[in-house]
């Protein structure tokens, strides 16, 4: 498990446990992001306060604050 600050651009991650089942997690689910979903972090944009992820050809921008409800695991143990 790692937090968003440690994830770089173009890194593959897997969505891990939600920290409780809160509002934000449900919103992420409505965009197809579940526990176990593999994402590519296209931009971890600290300046804009955004994280841009890509999976299955879709690009989803999430405010970093809102994405903090999910813990992510770097894929392939990287």
């Amino acid at each position: 498990m790692t937090d968003l600050d440690k994830i770089g651009n173009r890194q593959e991650v897997t969505v891990g446990d939600a920290l409780g089942q809160n509002n934000n997690y449900k919103l992420l689910m409505s965009y197809g992001i579940f526990k176990g979903t593999r994402l590519t972090v296209v931009r971890n944009d600290r300046w804009q306060g955004m994280i841009l992820v890509e999976f299955e050809g879709r690009r989803i921008a999430i405010r970093r604050k809102d994405a903090s409800c999910i813990k992510v695991e770097p894929a392939n143990g990287k």
Binding site: Q21, N22, N23, N24, Y25, K26, L27, L28, M29, S30, Y31, G32, F34, K35, V42, R43, D45, W47, Q48, G49, M50, L52, E56, G57, R58, R59, I60, A61, I62, R63, D66
Partner: protein, 657 residues
């Protein structure tokens, strides 16, 4: 008697494009999620086609999404049918909603869109197998070209909709007393009626279970070429366009070019229309040989309608440019870029689409604000959106800017008028943001401000859709404004042409002012309109306005654009110079007290600020009342905006005069 056919699906899957293809009624179809904020209706032969807002799942929370869910829960089995529009490039995600509707046992057909992109991304879907598995017709569609549309029309005509096989419906079966019931629809209804917390475990489990099930379900149906080309164009463009510095510079440059183009491209057609109406007015006057009918037609109807028709080129160009930006997918990037800045004003990137829509018209902008999930932000956005510079302000600004700014260009192609217009749009935007900041500070309630958004792939604009959309919106603008303007033009002409005084009294007044070259100004002064203008003159004189401007000001409280038509009528009532353009007429207007042009810098700036801030649109007030459920907030909005308009116009005039 035909069926009522509901178009349902996730946001941004091409429902509105399909709606256009089926009905021929063109409407807003942008390349960012959530263009359809209210249900839209059209006709295909005998059937009613209802385009509903995009929906992520039946457990969605957005106000617009609830419109769709409530419509599904009120499904009429006798006449309602569903066309489920699916994104072929992301079938697993899009079918979560389909499986939920299937478990509600509703008759459907599935239209899988983006056939062209399936080919380019190396995705193949076994339609026959999918059809067999779900027991419901499936059509592969290209919403851009209409490929597959005939097959869909055949299904609609022959009512070949079918209730699909259930997915996890049995999970919701229960025994109530002696009766065996399914509680799925009831659970969804209860979810909304009792306003259960967002994280309701039933909803979460329902979505997760379906997602897992669909993964296995689609294994044999969808196959993907592993050599799928990476989305290099989107990747490369996003690297630049989402960059905090380059992205912001490019955004500002696009805005700058947009407003330059508005003036540069529209100048010739506008001059042509202005001259055409001037000649038409003179011709009508000559042909009818004077008299009241001739005056009604040339000074009332033609001058009033001409006052709005002249702005068609500018409005159409604005719609084309905004439509092109939408359909490329760039609007969603603007939301991404602006979220950081908007946070400082209590808003988020979600407010960008309502605010940008406000540049066209505040009415769809207020409706677009329904998509904002955070209640506090939604409330603030609805109240501040009317500060954005809508199309109705454009004619007023164009005339006033032309009065005070030179025709000169800089760097050969850029003009000062375009720069001034951009400044007016920025004034509107910053006032909206400042008002949002004030309201957020006053309203201490907690805000969640969740922000998540899909950034669609960049696509080349679908020009046919953009042009048809522009044509439709321009028609709506001209005809809806035209009706008000035509009626008000006739009323104004009557008020300005008839007097409570006797003809002998007016003749005496004219005779007492032999220095006047044009007696019509005396007639106007003693007309009903003149008395009305003079009644409010003491209140508006400190702003630099005379009673003639007062008449235009009063008439434009119904709709801003009426100002131009009113000015055109008031200054057309002269007996000479019929073929003069509106701007020439205004330039020749003289203030005898200051011995300066009436429309000098101070008055024009004062008027520009008044129109930038005043709430002069009955339709917007009505839509805010509908969304807020009462008159309290629209009235506060009206009084607050108008007070701000008055004070800023007063300060500007007093400082500049």
């Amino acid at each position: 008697m035909g069926n009522k056919i509901l178009l349902l699906g996730n946001p941004n899957v091409g429902k509105s494009s399909l709606f256009n293809l089926l009905t021929g009624t063109r409407q807003k179809t942008g390349n960012y999620d959530g263009v359809t904020v209210e249900k839209k209706e059209g006709r295909f032969e005998t059937h009613r086609i209802i385009d509903l807002p995009g929906l992520s799942s039946v457990w969605s929370e957005g106000l617009d999404e609830r419109v769709s869910i409530q419509r599904v829960l009120n499904f009429d089995e006798a006449s309602d049918r569903i066309i489920f529009v699916a994104d072929g490039t992301n079938l697993q995600h899009t079918l979560v909603l389909f499986s939920q509707l299937a478990d509600l046992q509703l008759p459907m057909v599935m239209a899988i869109n983006f056939k062209d992109e399936l080919l380019s991304k190396g995705i193949s879907i076994d339609i026959q197998q999918l059809q067999n598995k779900i027991a419901c017709p499936v059509v592969l569609l290209n919403g851009r070209t209409g490929e597959g549309l005939d097959q869909l029309k055949h299904i609609i005509r022959n009512n070949e909709f079918a209730t699909p096989n259930a997915f996890i419906r049995t999970k919701y079966e229960a025994v109530q007393g002696d009766v065996f019931v399914n509680e799925y629809a009831g659970n969804i209804q209860k979810y909304y009626d009792s306003d259960i917390a967002l994280a309701d475990p039933i909803a979460l489990e329902d979505i997760e279970t379906r997602d897992r099930q669909l993964k296995n379900f689609l294994t044999e149906i969808v196959s993907k070429d592993n050599n799928e080309p990476a989305n290099l164009l989107t990747d490369r463009l996003d690297k630049v366009l989402l960059h905090p510095i380059y992205g912001s510079i490019i955004f500002l440059a696009i805005l700058f070019l947009l407003f330059q183009a508005l003036f540069n491209l529209s100048a010739y057609p506008m001059d042509l229309i202005d001259a055409l109406f001037g000649n038409l007015s003179a011709w009508a006057n000559d042909a009818l040989g004077g008299g009241w009918l001739s005056s009604l037609l040339s000074d009332g109807v033609i001058a009033g309608i001409g006052g709005i028709v002249i702005f068609i080129p500018q409005i159409a160009i604005l719609f084309i440019l905004m439509g092109a930006l939408e359909s490329t997918g760039y609007m969603a990037r603007i939301a991404y870029l602006s979220d950081r800045w908007l946070k400082g004003f209590g808003l988020s990137g979600s407010s960008v689409i309502p605010l940008m829509s406000g540049i066209a018209c505040a009415i769809p902008a207020v409706m677009a604000a329904k998509r904002i999930r955070d209640e506090k932000e939604r409330f603030v956005a609805m109240l501040v959106v009317p500060f954005m510079t809508c199309n109705a302000r454009l004619p007023v600004y164009t005339i006033l800017i032309a009065m005070i700014f030179p025709e000169d260009h800089f760097f050969y192609i850029f003009n000062f008028k375009g720069l001034a217009l951009l400044a007016m749009y920025l004034i509107g935007t910053f006032t909206a943001l400042f008002a949002a900041w004030v309201m957020t500070k006053l309203n201490k309630s907690a805000a969640t401000n969740l922000w998540i958004m899909e950034l669609p792939r960049y696509r080349w604009p679908h020009w046919k859709n953009v042009f048809l959309d522009t044509l439709n919106k321009t028609k709506i603008f001209v005809f809806s404004a035209g009706k008000i303007i035509l009626i008000l033009s006739i009323i104004l002409w009557a008020l300005a042409s008839f007097s409570p005084q006797s003809e002998a009294f007016i003749e005496k007044q004219i005779a007492s002012q032999p220095e006047l070259a044009d007696a019509s100004s005396v007639r106007l002064e003693y007309s009903y309109a003149g008395y009305l203008g003079k009644f409010i003159e003491p209140a508006i004189a400190p702003l630099g306005y005379d009673w003639k401007i007062g008449i235009a000001l009063l008439s434009s409280f119904a709709a801003r654009e009426v100002f131009v038509g009113t000015i055109a009528i008031i200054y057309s009532l002269g007996e000479e110079a019929e073929e003069q353009t509106i701007i020439e007429k205004l330039r020749s207007e003289w203030n005898t007290e200051t011995n300066q042009p009436r429309y000098n810098l101070a008055t024009c700036i004062s008027l520009l600020l008044f129109y930038a801030f005043a709430m002069q649109c009955i339709s917007t007030l009505a839509i805010v009342r509908r969304e807020m459920g009462g008159w309290k907030w629209p009235m506060i909005q009206f009084v607050g905006m108008t007070a701000l308009a008055y004070i800023s116009a007063l300060v500007a005039y007093q400082l500049l005069s």
